[in-house]
């Protein structure tokens, strides 16, 4: 299995660093024929949500905290692990944004979009680390 890219980095908790990381991964995926434009669209969207969650909600843009990212890009697999230094959260506490009473709430849709566009996402029990996986054409929901 050809490995196109493999790296591990720690980035500061800034929107700029997050966007640069997003571009590094999503930009690479967009050059690969094995991932369709629709796959690439979903990956960019899901990764943006995960990176923003770590920087904003996890680390609270703190200059003292970093986000650790492990990335593996193969022909048939993208695997990204994102870990922040925040307190974490409980997945069950996030309300379903598609429920009638939550439809007009302005937040809470990021995790739903990640689940929808990726093949697999797994949160650590502490909630401050997430693993996202995408195989071409495979969606979790």
């Amino acid at each position: 299995m050809a490995v196109h890219e493999q790296f591990e980095v720690s980035i500061p908790s800034t929107a700029e660093a997050g966007q640069a990381l997003l571009e590094r991964i999503a930009g690479k995926i967009e050059t690969l024929e094995s991932f369709s434009p629709h796959d690439a669209f979903g990956i960019r969207l899901a990764l943006d949500e995960a990176i923003v969650n770590a920087i904003k909600h996890g680390n609270g843009f703190s200059p003292d905290k970093t986000v650790r990212v492990k990335c593996l890009i193969e022909d048939q697999l993208l695997q990204v692990e994102i870990e922040d230094q925040g307190p974490g959260f409980c997945l069950e506490d996030v309300p379903d944004p598609t429920e009638e009473e939550n439809l007009d709430r302005p937040c809470g849709r990021g995790i739903m979009l990640m689940r929808s566009f990726m093949s697999n996402i797994e949160y650590s029990p502490t909630g401050n680390r997430v693993l996202l996986e995408k195989r071409p054409g495979v969606r979790m929901q």
Partner: protein, 118 residues
């Protein structure tokens, strides 16, 4: 207050305010804040009553941007104004469908359709 770089092109067409996004990717936190401020100012400061948001250039839209649209929708309803969204690409429309926001927004295929009967 609408501060920061302008992220919307505003045009008046037959008494309707048409706001076109200027960014292909609405992902960056700062951009989203600016977009929100400019959108809200249309209602809060300018008192505009008929607004069409044109998405024709938009290729990506994050959940934070969706949040701004929901807040905008609430402001519009509170002001008894009207809001329509138009020219949304199929991939972006899928995001609205997944989150069921296609149920709360009045979405039209084209700008002409959105302007019709406003």
């Amino acid at each position: 207050m609408s501060t920061g770089q302008r992220r919307l092109d505003i045009e008046e067409i037959g008494g309707v305010t048409v706001a076109r996004f200027v960014d292909k990717k609405i992902l960056d936190e700062t951009n989203i804040q600016n977009i929100g401020n400019q959108l809200f100012a249309l209602v809060d400061e300018d008192g505009r009553k008929k607004i069409v948001l044109d998405f024709s250039i938009v290729e990506y839209l994050s959940s934070a941007a969706l949040g701004k649209l929901i807040t905008m929708d609430k402001k519009v309803k509170a002001a008894k104004a009207k809001l329509r969204l138009c020219a949304i690409r199929p991939e972006i429309y899928e995001v609205f469908e997944i989150t069921r926001l296609n149920k709360i927004f009045d979405i039209k295929s084209t700008q002409e359709e959105a302007l019709d009967g406003m």
